[in-house]
Every structure is written in structure tokens, then in C-alpha cells.
């Protein structure tokens, strides 16, 4: 696990606004992905980060079903059933794209060659444990795909999620109650209410949106630290 060092000196609280919208959240994640990085964007909301990467950023997108240099979603005549992303959605290939088989695809992940991955989550613990593959719901068919490989493989693991679930429960927790995807693997959470580093030093708030750190802490079951 690589710990991201903070470039800012103090926690920033944006209290004259509400929480980030999904689009603003995607934009916020995109801003922290350096030009030239190799990145895997998980299925669902993380996929939208690609829409906000600068055109000249030269970020290379990896899709674990076997391609580097993935382009935007394919439409119309560009749809090829043999060219899909990890969500089985038809995509395009950018100039310079490369195809490879499954063992190579996961070797480049497990081998620490991917700079970043951005994943969704059901829960993240302050220590960086991730739960994002199984809700433990009775009768649910378990399906893991590449989630566990991504969680431990990329050099830096970002989680992008709403801070509260639909019932209002915090998804940032002391210990995950859902089945784990990986232990101590998440570096940072980007959420609508806050950007928070997690790991051995606890939950360190970098930014808040719509409330102060103290106001947010009142709504969460975990201790929040300032930079």
C-alpha cells in the first residue's frame, strides 16, 4: 500500500455550499489523477471519472478484461461485441491501445504496475479495509469478479462513494460488517461530504463539503482527525 502524502498543510472546509454532486465528485477525483498515470476505474460511478480527465492528460485506462488504452463508450457503428469493458459495456480503443490475456491483465495489477484504481464501496473502515463485493443479503448470488485483485493490486487505491447509504448509515466505519474485499488496502475516500485519508493513522480529513469537520464527526461513528 502506498500512502499518498498531502500537498496541503491544513484541512479545508467548504461550508458555504452543499455536498458534492455526483458530477462534482467525479471531477474532484479526476483532479487528483496525475498526467500519464495508468488507472483502472471500477464499474459504476468510478467509470464517470474518465469524463473529467483532461484531454491532454495522457492517462491510460486499464480494463481488467484485457486492454490498456480504453476509450469512451462505443455507440452506433462503433459497437463491437468483442470490444467491451469490465462491465461488459461496448467501448472504443484509443490509438496506442494494447490487448492482453487475463493472466497478464491481473499480473500487471498484482505486480504493482497500475498507479491508481478507483473503486466503489459498501463500507470502508478507518484502517482502510474495503467491503464492496457482497451485501450478505439472504439469497444473493455471490459474485466477486476482479474486485479483490484490484483492491490489493493497484499502488494507490481510491474509493469513490456516497458517505451515507440510502438508510442514512455511515459507510465510513470502525470495522466493516459486510464481507471484506481486502484488508488495509484503501488509501483515500472521495465522498460527497468529505475527502478522507484512511490507514494506520486513522481517518484524516483533507476536505469537507457543506459542513465543518466537527459537524460531520457528529454524524459518523468514527473519529475524524484534521491534517
Amino acid at each position: 500500500m502506498t500512502t499518498v502524502r498531502h500537498s496541503r498543510e491544513a484541512t479545508r472546509e467548504f461550508i458555504d455550499r452543499g455536498p458534492l454532486t455526483p458530477q462534482e465528485l467525479a471531477q474532484r477525483v479526476a483532479r487528483d489523477i496525475p498526467a500519464g498515470s495508468y488507472v483502472n476505474l471500477g464499474i459504476g460511478q468510478p467509470t464517470t471519472v474518465a469524463d473529467y480527465l483532461a484531454e491532454n492528460s495522457n492517462v491510460v485506462l486499464h480494463t481488467e478484461n484485457g486492454m490498456l488504452g480504453m476509450g469512451p463508450r462505443a455507440h452506433g457503428q462503433l459497437v463491437d461485441p468483442d470490444l467491451v469493458n469490465a462491465g461488459k459495456v461496448p467501448v472504443t480503443a484509443l490509438p496506442g491501445a494494447a490487448y492482453f490475456h487475463q493472466a497478464d491483465s491481473f499480473a500487471m495489477m498484482r505486480g504493482g504496475h497500475l498507479d491508481f484504481c478507483v473503486l466503489g464501496a459498501y463500507q470502508v473502515s478507518v484502517g482502510g479495509d474495503l467491503a464492496n463485493w457482497h451485501t450478505n443479503r439472504a439469497g444473493a448470488v455471490p459474485a466477486v469478479g476482479g474486485a479483490m485483485d484490484l483492491a490489493i493490486g493497484a499502488r494507490t487505491v481510491y474509493v469513490m462513494m456516497s458517505l451515507f447509504d440510502k438508510s442514512g448509515n455511515s459507510k465510513l466505519v470502525t470495522e466493516c460488517t459486510y464481507s471484506l474485499t481486502g484488508r488495509a488496502c484503501v488509501d483515500r475516500i472521495y465522498s460527497d461530504h468529505a475527502v478522507v485519508d484512511v490507514g494506520p493513522d486513522g481517518a484524516i480529513v483533507l476536505e469537507t463539503y457543506g459542513s465543518t469537520v466537527e459537524q460531520l464527526a457528529e454524524r459518523l461513528p468514527v473519529d475524524l482527525l484534521r491534517l
Binding site: 461485441p81 487475463q102 493472466a103 448470488v141 469478479g145
Partner: protein
């Protein structure tokens, strides 16, 4: 030199109880014609190793619906239209071994490479790692995972030459190259067969040493929808 045979002929020798590796990610790279032939040949009590557990009512879903499958080894059985598997799984009529996708790929690769087992960090500390041998390397917990080979591999490729050298199409490559090497009998459906020398040796992905039987068939692909909840 290989002479292409029919999909039905290609199934000869596949017995009840076989472990069958089937390439494909969703429908990309899925050997639909060979799966139909496997269904028609009547073999039962099969263990199917594939990334997904079928969609709709064709392909692997048809094998499942016909009661030919005892066990599925896969990473992502749940898809938007995987109702055949879902129903059999819930009623306990099919066994599931769920394997993280990278571990599935590496276990298949290991089988083809003659490596009986290996340690990997993926899955350590999770419910999928429970009961597995583990060891710590450089402070990182790892699980012992075993090679996963097959009696038969059914794969799809774009083109072959008559020595069995293969090239693939885009992300349809997925499990093809590693499954071709990991089975005692590898059967490939290809769009076209060319004479030796027609494929540039520099671009051959699967060398013909891994390929036993060739079937010429038009790919039958349709897209499946997104299957993840996250």
C-alpha cells in the same frame, strides 16, 4: 497439419464428469458453437470453469438448464440475465466455487505452465480465503492457490493456421490463451483458417502446440448488460 472438423466431431472423447474450461468474458470470446455441440453430445456431470455462469438461455445457461453441470468455477456468476444459474444455485442443484478473477486466471495459467500451486495476496483476510493455507511474505499475507487445469478447453479465436497457431480479436482474447495451455484436449472455434505462413509469427498469440482440434464457425455474439451492483 490440422484439418478442420465439425463442432459435433470435435466433441468426440468428452466423457461424463469432465472438467471443461470455457473462454469468454460475458459473450466476448465465448465459443457459442462449441458449447452448443457440448450440449448436443450429451456429456453430463460436468465441472465448468469460466469467468461467468451464462446469460439468457443459450451457451453455458443452456448446459445448466439441461442439468449437465455439477459444478461451476467462476468469478462472476451474477449477470443481469443469469437467471438460469441463479435459480439452480439457490435450489442447491449446482455447486459454485467462487474465485477472484485474477486468481482464476493465474490458477489456469499455472496449470498450463506446470506449476502446481502458488502464493497470492488476493483474497487474504476475506471469506474467500477461509480454510486456505496462508503465509506471510515481506509483511504481506498470502494464500496458497492451486493450479486449475481441465480435461477439455473450448475456446474462440479470430483466425488459425493449419498448425493451430491462433490470433484473437480485441478483448475477446481474455481467457483463450491460458485455457488453451491448461487442458488435455483443446478445441478452438475460429472464424477463418489459413495456410501456415499466412500469419506473421510475430503476432501469433497462442502457438499451435497448445491446440488439438479446429472448428470453423461464425461467431455468434450478443452483448450482455452490466452485472455489478457496485
Amino acid at each position: 497439419m490440422m484439418t478442420p472438423i465439425s463442432a459435433a466431431e470435435a466433441m468426440s472423447g468428452i466423457t461424463d464428469g469432465s472438467t471443461v474450461l470455457i473462454s469468454g468474458f460475458g459473450t466476448a470470446g465465448l465459443p457459442a458453437n462449441l458449447i452448443d455441440a457440448l450440449l448436443n453430445c450429451g456429456a453430463r456431470d460436468l465441472t465448468i470453469v469460466s469467468n461467468n455462469a451464462g446469460n439468457g438461455e443459450s451457451g453455458i445457461a443452456a448446459l445448466l438448464a439441461a442439468g449437465r453441470v455439477r459444478k461451476v468455477v467462476c468469478s462472476f456468476p451474477r449477470q443481469s440475465d443469469s437467471y438460469v444459474f441463479d435459480s439452480l444455485y439457490r435450489s442447491g442443484e449446482v455447486e459454485l466455487e467462487l474465485v477472484p478473477q485474477g486468481n482464476l486466471a493465474e490458477r489456469i495459467r499455472a496449470a498450463g505452465a506446470g506449476i502446481p500451486a502458488f502464493y497470492t495476496p488476493t483474497g487474504y483476510g476475506t471469506t474467500l480465503g477461509e480454510g486456505k493455507e496462508s503465509r506471510v511474505f515481506g509483511g504481506r499475507g498470502c494464500l496458497l492457490e492451486y493450479a486449475l487445469g481441465g480435461d477439455v478447453a473450448l475456446i474462440a479465436a479470430k483466425s488459425a493456421d493449419r498448425l493451430g497457431n491462433l490470433v484473437y480479436n480485441k478483448t475477446a482474447r481474455n481467457f483463450g490463451p491460458i485455457m488453451a495451455a491448461a487442458a488435455a484436449l483443446t478445441i478452438v472455434e475460429v472464424g477463418t483458417i489459413v495456410e501456415p505462413g499466412a500469419l506473421d509469427p510475430e503476432i501469433i498469440v497462442t502457438p499451435g502446440i497448445y491446440v488439438d482440434r479446429l472448428v470453423v464457425a461464425q461467431p455468434r455474439c450478443s452483448l450482455v448488460g452490466e452485472g455489478s451492483e457496485v
